[in-house]
């Protein structure tokens, strides 16, 4: 598999505080990689490092096959577009002037495609309105528009739907999906809104305390989050014996509860458990969401 970005035991310290602690992640080409973690987990720090805004304290990364220590890493960065935290726009300029400025920074010979980019992000009718008078959503879209100048292959979006209204969130989501499907742009997207991420991403990286606790594809996550029946019994050892005998997939959750990943015949199960002197206290059908899976991975948190 071809990777756009690979990090290897990446570390970043700020005055004794470890923002990143041996972070290793891999972003396949063509993926929409959802980067999930609490506030302060290290998401933005990683994005700052790969954008060249900061240097790692330890470890390293490769961007389009170039090591971060390679002088030519700047050439790889030319294939990137990024919106880090707040959109980087000149507030005293119009949307068109902001884009023209980015065209000049990239040294593009003409402003061809400028109107298309503005149309793509829905800012084609802003006229002479300056960015300082834009709504938060409009600024966010302008930030993405600037990131799209020069037709990047890799788009990095740090919390792109933060503070947006529901309509704005839908628009940004559709834009990202469109860019990924129609222009094959690889996207790294960090977000707190897990349900929103689950509608977009093809791959996930769960980060906690500066390192990746789990990296998986959307298909793998779907398998993990599949429907199950939570069974509460008096003796889980007996339950294990019965379910093993019935060749049913399950997971013991506590000393009295277990998740059973199959449609079970309740009469057969209770009869088999009765033979083992095990009582069934309750049964509940449940489906693990991305949120509950995330909480189980990182142990919960106020800001998740």
């Amino acid at each position: 598999m071809e990777y756009v970005l690979k990090t290897s035991a990446l570390g970043k310290n700020y005055k004794g505080f470890k923002a990143l602690n041996g972070l290793s992640m891999n972003i396949p080409k063509g993926a929409i990689y959802g980067f999930v973690g609490k506030n302060g987990a290290g998401k933005t720090t990683l994005i700052r490092l790969i954008c060249g805004l900061q240097e790692p304290t330890s470890g390293g990364y490769t961007l389009y096959g170039r090591e971060n220590t390679d002088r030519d890493i700047v050439k790889s960065r030319r294939r990137m577009g990024a919106v880090v935290e707040n959109p980087s726009v000149y507030f005293d300029m119009t949307a068109v002037d902001n884009l023209k400025q980015q065209y000049r920074i990239l040294g593009l010979p003409s402003f061809d495609g400028l109107a298309d980019i503005l149309k793509l992000v829905g800012l084609d009718n802003t006229g002479k309105k300056k960015a300082k008078n834009f709504s938060l959503g409009m600024r966010q879209r302008l930030g993405i528009a600037i990131a799209l100048v020069g037709a990047p292959d890799f788009l990095v979006l740090d919390e792109p739907v933060n503070g947006l209204d529901p309509q704005g969130i839908i628009e940004i989501r559709e834009l990202i999906l469109k860019l990924n499907r129609e222009q094959q742009i690889t996207v790294l997207i960090s977000s707190h809104i897990l349900d929103e991420l689950s509608k977009l991403t093809t791959h996930y990286g769960f980060i906690d305390n500066g390192h990746i606790v789990k990296e998986m594809s959307a298909a793998e996550l779907e398998a993990v989050c599949k429907k199950c029946v939570r069974v509460e019994v008096s003796n889980t050892k007996a339950l294990s014996r019965v379910l093993d005998g019935m060749e049913i997939d399950y997971k013991i959750v506590t000393s009295k509860t277990a998740d059973v990943y199959a449609r079970v015949n309740i009469s057969q199960l209770t009869a088999a458990l009765a033979k083992e002197n095990c009582e069934v206290i309750s049964m509940q059908e449940r489906e693990e969401s991305l949120e509950s899976y995330y909480v189980s991975l990182v142990g919960g948190g106020k800001n998740a």
Binding site: Y14, R48, C51, G52, L53, Q54, E55, V74, K75, S76, R77, R78, M80, G81, A82, V84, E85, N86, P87, S88, V89, Y90, F91, D92, M93, D97, K100, Q101, Q102, R104, I105, L106, G107, I146, A147, G150
Partner: protein, 276 residues
């Protein structure tokens, strides 16, 4: 670098602060020179002043314009976060730093040019320069070089400070600090060697015998003070104001030294700076 300069200059032509500085400089030069015309023809007509007396008076104020403009213009890169676009787009930090320095220097030169053009309003009254053309060009060249030093100093400040308001305050305070330091040294050098007071005697007021001035600086200390005034761009400005340039080579070398060292130091720090 060419791309960054293109982006910087296109922003410069649309920058309100830049045009405000240009307009202020033009009005300042015209009003100042007209006042000079009045002084030269009415109040101080016996001194027979020419345009030379006033033409280089921008030399002290240009530093303030450079400090204000650079901190507002470059500070926007941090306050709006747009410096990130340049780095993410694959530009080196050295390239970004030098492009910003060139832009600030060019803007400062344009501000000086506006003064020089505006000051020509005095020509009909005061006539043309009495000094020789090579001397006039030498003065202009020294001015260009100490503006390069000013630009390098303020670019250094602007590229290290990420808070726009703080950058403006630091730049202006630094300018006034340098100006005060140079003024103290300059004034100390102009203490007379001998002083004579007035004493009242039975026969009326009499001048006392000249006595050595205790504030007169001599020896190594005088050499150091002279070096400080010639070394600092604010000191050079003061000497240019008074048409007292007597060591142009030392001034030029000092400006080059300040510009090169602050730029090398600035790039060194900026390359290691964690940006947000």
């Amino acid at each position: 670098m060419r791309k960054l300069l293109s982006a910087n200059f296109s922003r410069l032509w649309k920058d309100k602060i830049f045009w405000l500085c240009m307009g202020t400089m033009l009005v300042y030069s015209v009003v100042y020179m007209l006042n000079g015309c009045r002084q030269a023809t009415v109040d101080l007509s016996e001194y027979n002043y020419s345009i030379d007396k006033y033409y280089f008076h921008f030399a002290v104020t240009i530093g303030a314009f450079c400090a204000l403009f650079s901190s507002m213009f470059l500070g926007t890169e941090y306050s709006d976060g747009t410096i990130r676009n340049k780095i993410v787009s694959g530009h080196t930090r050295t390239g970004i730093y030098i492009a910003n320095l060139v832009t600030v220097f060019a803007a400062t030169l344009l501000l000086m040019l506006v003064w020089l053009i505006g000051a020509l309003v005095a020509v009909p009254v005061l006539g043309v320069w009495k000094t020789s053309i090579p001397n006039l060009l030498a003065y202009l060249f020294i001015a260009v070089m100490f503006e390069a030093a000013f630009s390098a100093i303020f670019t250094f400040v602007c590229m290290q400070s990420t808070n726009k308001a703080a950058t403006v305050v630091i730049s202006v305070l630094l300018l006034f600090g340098l100006l005060a330091f140079a003024s103290m040294a300059y004034n100390a050098l102009h203490e007379p060697e001998m002083t004579s007071g007035v004493q009242i005697t039975a026969s009326g007021m009499e001048m006392s015998e000249p006595a050595p001035n205790p504030h007169y600086i001599r020896g190594v200390t005088r050499t150091i003070y002279e070096f400080i005034v010639d070394f600092l761009p604010t000191g050079q400005g003061l000497k240019m104001w008074q048409l007292e340039i007597n060591n142009p080579v030392r001034m030029l070398l000092s400006s080059v030294f300040i510009a090169v060292m602050t730029t090398l130091g600035g790039i060194f720090i900026f390359k290691r700076k964690d940006l947000k």
